[in-house]
Amino acid sequence: MSDQPVPAEAAPSRNLVQFVLRLREAGVVVFLVLLGLTFGLLNDRFLSVQNLTIVASSAAILAIAACAQGVVLITRNLDVSVGSMMGLVAYLTADWTANHPGISPAEVVAIAVVLGIGLGAINGLLVAYGKVPALIGTLGTMSLYRGLTYIYAHGQEVSSSRLPHWMLESADIRIAGCPIYVIIAIIIVMAVAWFLYAYPLGRRIYAVGSNGVAAWFFGLRAERVVMFAYVLCGFLCGIAGLLYAARVGTVNVVLASGWEMSSLAAAVIGGVSVSGGSGTVIGAALGAVVLAAIDNGLVLLRVPEFWRMFIQGAAIVAAVAVDALIAEAIRRSTAGRRR
């Protein structure tokens, strides 16, 4: 198991190596730089500002989804209904918006967020209070939510012509040359990271995932903490689903299918341990950037699409292996203080 979950707590550490080892994001940052240099050498267009903007922009929504997945992973659970939640929220919200012309942006966001929280709460009830193993419970709701989307849609889709202009144009807004989606993603990820780092409830999320038994003896109500993590996950998925809907314009029933795996991959690559208690949502978001960079770079290099699947899968296995190595190194370096 992982040791102290918080990288920053290791700040007064006696030696620098230990400090860097404890910084869970260090690995993914190094990997990202190496990846950028490799692609940059192979194709001179990769490192252009224009292309990097494209990478950041395509990573933005996945970064939010990975952040949502990360929060749940830190509690030693997982959520494979992320993609289905995004899809259901996106469809219902888009459909509602299309049927109510003149609806204000704030109302649309409110609908998406409330729906997301509701769906997340169902997952939370199942896993935290129903004691259903996280994989099974959310595998069930994954098909449940996706099935509901199909049933509600009834073979239809919400075409972009029925959506208000402001919604479709919002995806293209740039502030000082930076796409607004990137800014939104950075704000959200930073806010969640700060919340997990500085607030008691955030610390409890780490505590429950790091050592559930100790947390119980300490008097933490694990059920509430896990419940909250799932609600936060649903909330973030609601936002991500809405952003996705606004970007693609035409919302259909398969929107964001497969994103549960991409978000999991991003979080794992970003150093969030599936064994709970360690990693940060900033790492998870960086993992999303890694996936987007791999996708983009391989397209620029004209590598066939199916190689991406192989490389992405291999990257997950490599990330998990590196994660285990780091955990082992930490365990050894602090062996004297452990039982």
Partner: protein, 338 residues
């Protein structure tokens, strides 16, 4: 599951049988053709491929691990078979090779999980993508349908006056084999003991690493066999074969009463759960209930299957308040991935 005598009546298997009969009765009201022998045997074909995966997954889950890459291994198997068929290799040669390739893919999962102690969910999530990618790399994006007739036999032929599918016989043999392995051999006892308590098993001299790798290899080999059945049933091989079928497989294993945290369960339960799911699917097909609704029903069943122990415990507490105890720290443990 120390002694059989300790098991509480009604057995879960008994409940499953009642549910199967109920679903069958419901189906027979939907169509006059439901109760024909042809139909009953023919409909079993729908769950033979996921059934083979479920048998292997049951062994892996009994260890407290999971393997979600099995459907991708099917795809590796089918595209490999298409290459062999195109090269004119007889099935007698290519079938063992494909089963061996499946076992190798599985063993690789097992190596990562058992030897390097990596979390099985994350590892098989990675290999799920990697094997799927591998299948596309081997077979390219174009499907292959020009199979030699001998390749189709196992999955498409019927025997006994054209009533019983050959693949059903294969499935039955495999089910008996895995049942024997899990409930009548030392290996099976070791699997359950590792699932209950890995450390204690290790101290008792069980080679945990080897046991786990063998379980994964077995699951992979069964996926390879399922690939051969796939070719016969669908007559086509492509990289996206069996994509997304793992949900059905996990549902069958969990509904069959295998504890997702390992250590408990029976193979007969898994087989019965497969029959139940197959009957429900078949019935919904007859009732003209669409795919999406079927998915919703499947998801609900999965959740109901896992809520069952919690519900049973709650019932027991209600009927016997003396045994009421405060929720212990083990209540915090959730997915048991370690």
């Amino acid at each position: 599951m120390a002694a059989k005598a300790k098991r509480q009546w009604p057995f879960w298997e008994f409940t499953l049988i009642v549910a199967i009969l109920g679903a069958g009765a419901w189906s027979s009201t939907l169509s006059p053709y439901y109760l024909s022998v042809d139909q009953l045997f023919g409909s079993t074909r729908a769950f033979i491929i996921p059934g083979l995966l479920a048998l292997g997954l049951a062994v892996v889950v009994s260890l407290g691990e999971i393997d979600i890459s099995l459907a991708s291994i099917i795809a590796v198997g089918t595209v490999t078979l298409s290459k062999f068929s195109a090269a004119g290799v007889p099935l007698g040669v290519s079938a063992p090779i494909v089963v061996a390739i499946g076992a190798l893919c599985g063993a690789f999962n097992g190596l990562l999980v058992a030897k390097w102690r990596l979390p099985s969910l994350a590892v098989t999530l990675g290999t799920m993508g990697a094997y799927r990618g591998l299948a596309f790399i081997i077979g390219s994006e174009v499907g292959y349908t020009d199979f030699d007739d001998s390749y189709l036999w196992l999955g498409s032929e019927y025997i006994f006056h054209g009533i019983v599918p050959v693949s059903l016989i294969v499935f039955a043999l495999m089910a008996i084999l895995v049942w024997f392995l899990m409930h009548r051999t030392v290996y099976g006892r070791r699997c359950f003991s590792i699932g209950l308590n890995t450390d204690a098993s290790w101290f008792a001299g069980v080679d945990v690493t080897e046991t786990k790798i063998r379980a994964y290899a077995l699951a992979g080999a069964l996926a390879g066999l399922a690939a051969i059945v796939w070719i016969g049933q669908y007559g086509s091989a492509r990289g996206d074969n069996a994509d997304g079928s793992i949900l059905f497989v996990v549902t069958a294993v969990v509904l069959g009463g295998i504890d997702i945290n390992g250590g408990r369960g029976t193979i007969s339960g898994v087989v019965l759960a497969l029959f139940l799911l197959g009957t429900i699917r078949n019935g919904m097909g007859l009732a003209n209930i669409g795919g999406p609704t079927q998915t919703v029903v499947l998801g609900s069943l999965l959740v109901a299957g896992v809520l069952r122990p919690a519900a049973a415990a709650a019932l027991a507490r209600l009927s016997n308040p003396a045994r009421l105890k405060a929720a212990g720290p083990q209540g915090v443990e959730s997915s048991g991935q370690e």
